[in-house]
């Protein structure tokens, strides 16, 4: 599988291009881009680790993986022990190894980053998890049943993590998921070429093997009443930030304008790329504009590219400001996505169906509240791009459906559930974590918040 490898373009920090399939081959399929490390490469990489006494890397990891410990086991070629060390803190290592923004987390603070390149912690984590999956995974131990019932709403990374932690503490956990598949964004959002669906499924199965029960097709607030939900001994809300934002520019409801969520769901969850073998349709644009600069925009652009389109990515700031993982920006460029930075759409053109998008160039002047340059439109710089499809990936908001139905649940201005550092909400036995509490963030932050909430729930249930 590691046949031909490109080194080349992706020298960006944290961009694991060493083990990538060549761009011209990978844009033709949905197979994984990054082939991962061989055992020899993994051992060699692990041997570079200084085994710091006060490892900074661990502080960079929201779930506090004992990184030096697992890396040492890899260096010793002791992969089962490495897997055990990983899963002590993280039940979804094959997923995190692939999608964590390592350059701003563990690898960003690795001491080696000061002089040379940081240890490729994510790649090693993925290697160990893949090795374990292929060689038979071992389940962590669970405590004796406590007789307490906990409901978890949503089966994304936050829900899965809380469920696993609580099951390991001996509680009876019921996860409710409204879709017909578990995994949240891992399943419907992040495409298979970045996160193969068998990897997601295997890690979900590991969580279920701990005794966690899962009810799919259950939309809490509708299929399960709020009263039923609040009847559990504890509740963990992990309903995500799935509500897509639209720009509010003219022409947005024309045929051929998608939210990234819709486009990605049609392809990743419903397999519309394989229509008519699968029943769900999706439009195949010849020229596609994707608006946004985050992971979601990169994913949408690269999916459209794989479906045969010429793709332009429109982003209102500069490339350096893009919030996407570095590796994915590099990958997208390698795959021939055109980047139109400092550009903002003003109008979508067409009669009924999209025929173009009007944009304006943006100047970067001053600083906005977040300290990032705040872009302003440059008068008279309007231009039109001929496209037949537009995908908006400008962000998502907390899903209001359930949380707005729970009386007395404190919410912030953006609709997020207000929690303390342990995930406690304004209702005593109700906790929340992941994107519903933070707004759209990352897989690993969702997992970190879920772990803290699970620990607090466990403490509360044991006190009673």
């Amino acid at each position: 599988m590691n046949g031909s490898r490109s080194t080349g373009a992706g020298a960006a920090k944290g961009a694991g291009t060493m083990s990538d399939r060549p761009a011209d081959a990978r844009v033709r399929d949905f197979e994984e881009v990054d082939c991962g490390l061989t055992p020899a490469e993994a051992i060699a990489e692990a041997e570079r680790c200084l085994q710091c006494k006060k490892p900074l890397c661990v502080r960079g990891c929201p779930v506090c993986i004992d990184i030096p410990a697992f890396v040492r086991e890899v260096a010793d070629g002791n992969f089962p022990e490495a897997a055990r060390a990983l899963k002590e803190q993280n039940m979804l290592p094959a997923i995190c190894g692939r999608v964590c923004p390592q350059e701003t987390q563990c690898e960003g603070v690795c001491i080696l980053g000061n002089k040379e390149t940081p240890i490729r912690i994510g790649a090693l984590e993925r290697f160990v998890a893949d090795w374990e999956r292929q060689n038979g995974a071992e389940l962590p131990e669970t405590a004796r049943p406590t007789g307490k019932r906990v409901a978890v709403v949503g089966s994304g990374p936050a829900g899965l993590t809380a469920a696993a932690e609580l099951a390991r503490s001996g509680h009876a956990v019921m996860v409710f998921e409204s879709l017909h598949e578990a995994g949240g964004v891992l399943t419907y959002g992040i495409p298979a070429f970045r996160l193969p669906k068998n990897v997601v499924k295997a890690e979900i199965d590991q969580v279920l093997a701990l005794g966690v029960r899962l009810k799919k097709n259950h939309l809490v607030g509708r299929s399960v009443s709020v009263d039923e939900l609040l009847g559990y001994d504890a509740v963990f809300l992990a309903t995500g930030a799935g509500l897509p934002a639209f720009m509010g520019i003219p022409g947005e409801n024309k045929n051929g304008v998608y939210s990234a969520n819709e486009f990605l769901t049609r392809v990743n969850l419903m397999h519309a790329d394989a229509f008519p073998e699968f029943d769900t349709p999706v439009l195949h644009g010849a020229r596609v504009a994707v608006v946004g600069g985050g992971n979601v925009a990169m994913d949408a652009a690269r999916v459209a590219r794989r479906m045969g389109a010429k793709v332009s990515l429109i982003y209102r700031r500069g490339e350096e400001e893009m919030p996407a993982r570095r590796a994915e920006v590099v990958h997208a460029k390698e795959e021939g996505i055109e980047f139109l930075t400092c550009t903002n759409p003003t109008r979508i053109l067409g009669e009924g169906c999209v025929t173009g998008i009007e944009c304006v160039k943006m100047s970067l002047c001053g600083m906005d509240a977040s300290g990032r340059p705040s872009p302003e439109p440059i008068p008279g710089s309007e231009f039109t791009l001929d496209v037949d499809m537009v995908i908006q990936a400008i962000g998502t908001n907390p899903n209001p459906l359930l949380v707005s139905l729970i009386p007395g649940l404190g919410r912030g201005r953006k609709g997020n559930v207000v929690v303390d550092e342990n995930g406690r909400t304004s209702i005593p036995h109700v906790y929340a974590g992941g994107d519903i509490a933070t707004g759209a963030a990352t897989v690993i932050e969702a997992m970190g918040s879920a772990k803290r909430a699970a620990a607090a729930i466990d403490a509360m249930l044991k006190e009673e």
Binding site: S178, L179, H180, Y188, L208, L214, K215, K216, N217, H218, L219, R222, S223, V224, S225, G242, L243, P244, F246, E252, N253, K254, N255, G256, Y258, S259, N261, E262, T265, R266, M270, H271, F275, P276, E277, F278, D279, T280, P281, L283, G352, N399, P400, L401
Partner: protein
Amino acid sequence: MKRLYKVELATKLADRVYEYWISAPQVARHARAGQFIILRLHEKGERIPLTISAVKGDAVRVIFMAVGKTTQELATLRPGDSISDVVGPLGKPSEIENYGTCCVIGGGVGIASTPLIAKELKAAGNHVIGIIGARSADLLILEDEMREICDDLYITTDDGSKGVHGFASDVLKKLLEERTIDRVWIIGPAIMMKVTSGVTVPYGVKTYVSLNPIMVDGTGMCGSCRVTVGKETKFACVDGPEFDAHQVDFNELMQRQRIYMGQEKVSLERFAEHRCRCGEGGGHHE
């Protein structure tokens, strides 16, 4: 682990119109008037929305017209067969209150939605007038059921083969001239809802329509179902499906319903061919 949803009863009501009872306890327990389910037949299936037309025990009734691939395939299922996924009840329930006199209008297969709404309005103390219309007498469904629920029931057919010769809008107009009507519900094809709701504008009668844009998840996560209501973008699956008719941009709705016409045709032709090869009648065997 896989939960399966069983077909309990399957009846053909009219040409291409079927009544199915599907066991889905979590839906049946909570279903209210105006809500719908989304089902997925099997691993390769698409998710399609269907209105909850009645509830009994653990089962919900859907009434659908076999127009394309998925509805035609659904119509091949026999009692005892299973559907891979059913989620619901979705959408906001109808705004039921004691308004006084209410008129509930169904056109074509849209009549499927009317009994639950009429029943809940009746239970809330309203005087309920039903108008059900179809192209011709043989396509008219749920007449007896509606007659039982409603205080008055009018029937219209486009060809005059039964009841009033004409459209539901004609009857509605006449009623509005004769008496006070406090609220109107209209459920049917988009064009019928557009025309019929136009009738109530001069009378200033609050009118609800149940919109049927193309949906995927049905939980507010994708925006496929977005509609313009009063110049604002709304997601029909969570903000609706019922909206104030006088605020709805029906032309946009009809435009968006046509997005996948080309692919729908391919899918249907492929299914028809597959059925010919495998012989009529059998359920799906994916």
